[in-house]
């Protein structure tokens, strides 16, 4: 069965010659129709996580490899295929203000796709659809419709963006840092909404973030990225509570938990601070900062090793596991009907 949307051996680089940056390195990930999970793609800035979103949505073209929508290269879609692609793959972005055209009322964000995707037969139906969705996300239509973006708060605007996803019912929702620019008190509400979208509508969601706490809370699976490569991937509970890859351990140890009794001091940071110019080692990307790195780590890129608990780790210290090259990360995530 062809996947809904997939990255097939995709590499994305920027720049040329000496100043080349590898944003994403040989990534294969397939999202299928019967895949009702929330998968977090986590990493710091420069990890490639936003690049994945841009590639999947067709805003970037891969340098190597292909991005396929139902088997077709998304940069070579016919008119009707493209229409279908846009209808089935939607997004919620980070900046609650920038997604609105300041010239138009916020209704625009909802009415345009309703019109273009023919989700309502007439204006009344469209309006009803909009009102319903707004109420569902906890907003009052009388207070939000008819207003301009600058008249609403960041939280309200982001909720409208989620309402849009609710109306469109895409087959895949890609969210790029959807709560990072929103107040803490509202974050929980938005995450709850996304979770509900996933559970009630069986909508798979890709949750891209740098914040491991929200990733932990909302998702079932997680993929940890560093400099464009996967370091560790698998069930989110297992990985956050018991990180195996040194980089994941570093990340988890740096999380400022809102609990004065669980302090950073518990885990002594023995990691050397990153080099200034993030040089790329020919081998494991993390080897230059890893206190456990050996010769082979610096020279050869480690493959993903599968561990007994189902996760994969890109680290030579787990060589006992089964080595998987060019693996499709999508296979890690249980399909509908399978036991995760």
């Amino acid at each position: 069965m062809t996947a809904l949307l997939e990255l097939k051996g995709v590499t994305k680089t920027f720049g040329k010659g000496r100043a080349i940056t590898v944003a994403l390195d040989d990534m294969t990930l397939a999202v299928n129709d019967d895949f009702p999970h929330i998968v977090s793609i986590a990493g710091e800035s420069g990890s490639g996580k936003t690049t994945i979103a841009m590639l999947l949505l067709g805003f970037y073209a891969p340098t190597r490899g292909h991005v396929l929508y139902r088997g077709q290269d998304i940069h070579k879609l016919s008119g009707s295929q493209r229409y279908s692609f846009r209808k089935e793959v939607q997004a919620v972005f980070q900046d609650p203000f920038a997604v609105y055209n300041p010239f138009y009322k916020v209704d625009n964000l909802l009415s345009i796709p309703i019109q273009n995707f023919r989700l309502a037969k007439n204006k009344q139906e469209a309006h009803a659809l909009m009102e319903q969705a707004l109420i569902h996300v906890g907003l009052r239509p009388e207070e939000t419709l008819g207003r301009y973006p600058h008249q609403l708060s960041g939280g309200q605007r982001q909720r409208i963006a989620v309402a849009r996803a609710l109306i469109l019912r895409p087959k895949l929702l890609i969210t790029d840092e959807p709560v990072s620019m929103v107040d803490a008190s509202l974050r929980a509400t938005l995450l709850k909404l996304l979770r509900a979208l996933n559970q009630e509508l069986e909508m798979p969601i890709l949750y891209i973030t740098h914040d491991l706490t929200t990733a932990y809370h909302i998702s079932d699976y997680i993929v940890i990225l560093y400099h464009g490569s996967v370091m560790e991937a698998g069930n989110v509970d297992v990985i956050i509570k018991d990180p195996k890859h040194p980089y994941t351990q570093l990340l988890v140890a740096s999380i400022p938990w809102p609990d004065p009794n669980r302090s950073w001091g518990e885990t002594k940071q023995v990691f050397p601070t990153g080099t200034m110019f993030d040089e790329y080692a020919p081998g494991c990307k993390f080897s230059l900062r890893c206190p456990f790195a050996g010769e082979i780590c610096r020279e050869e890129r480690p493959p993903l090793y599968r561990l007994d608990d189902g996760r994969v780790v890109a680290c030579r210290h787990f060589e006992s596991g089964e080595a998987l090259a060019g693996m499709d990360l999508g296979t890690l995530f249980a399909r509908k009907g399978q036991v995760p």
Partner: protein
Amino acid sequence: MSAPILEIKDLRVYYYVEAGAIKAVDGVSFSLEPGAKLGLVGESGSGKSTMAMALMRLINPPARIVGGQVQLDGIDLVGVSEEEMRKIRLSRMSMIPQGAMNALHPLLRIENQIMDGIKDHGSTLSGGDLQGRVYALLESVDLNRRVARMYPHQLSGGMKQRVAAAIAISLHPKLVIADEPTSALDVVIQRQVMEMLDRLQAEMNLSILLIGHDMGLMAQFVDRLAVMYAGKLMELGNLKDIFAEPLHPYTLMLIQSLPALENKGVFAGIPGITPSLLKPPSGCLFHTRCPYAEAVNGNRCEEEVPVFEQVKPGRWISCHLHGDMPS
């Protein structure tokens, strides 16, 4: 208990716009002991950044300090002349501003930027001594000496933030205000920068006022916490006490809304939106979103502004429930 290094009494900062006065800071009072770390936490629109600017007397029209007192080591910062204030900034109190990485001069080498501050305050150090001072400062913020000759664009975000910290401590001030110093940084660098600040604080016995919105960061760094909402303080007290038993509904709900390792799958946000500072609600500013407003007899929450007072030793809140929240 020695005298507080910073004492703020009833500070008010309003922005005057055509439609009226935006009460960004409306009667905030707290104090900071020497060598202590106080966190001022608030969401967007709480007024916390305005507080930082007001303390450094960097408020520009249309905003104005409308009332209150700010005493730094006995000096009244509100009344003092601009000339005096310039001498005080950097030497007695300094700030690591939000996005400090963008506050560095793009065309000057790092060493010059550090030296500028020192020279401006009448230093009589010779060239060699000054250079030595720069190297010492860079070392204290865990930066290599090579950084001195570099330009800001050659440094990463975390490194620029450390340079900003180095400048802030260059004249051994008594108080350092850190306004969201790590908001643009990744979590790993954030920890490193905060641990560096912690070390500097201990070595130099600095008082630090950490302003931010991240309760997690507060929990890891400060001793006392002040919770700000819509221009006023809701709660003030010892950090561990507040987390163990928050006495103000806003603080309680804020802590409950934070994702923690234990409560996976529980999402408890605060309903409603932050009030307009131009036309704030009557009575308690939080009453429109407070689930306990009903528990108070009559319409007190709606009609009467609660007084910011001590309800237990060392615990201050502004709430008609006085800390007795029904479960």
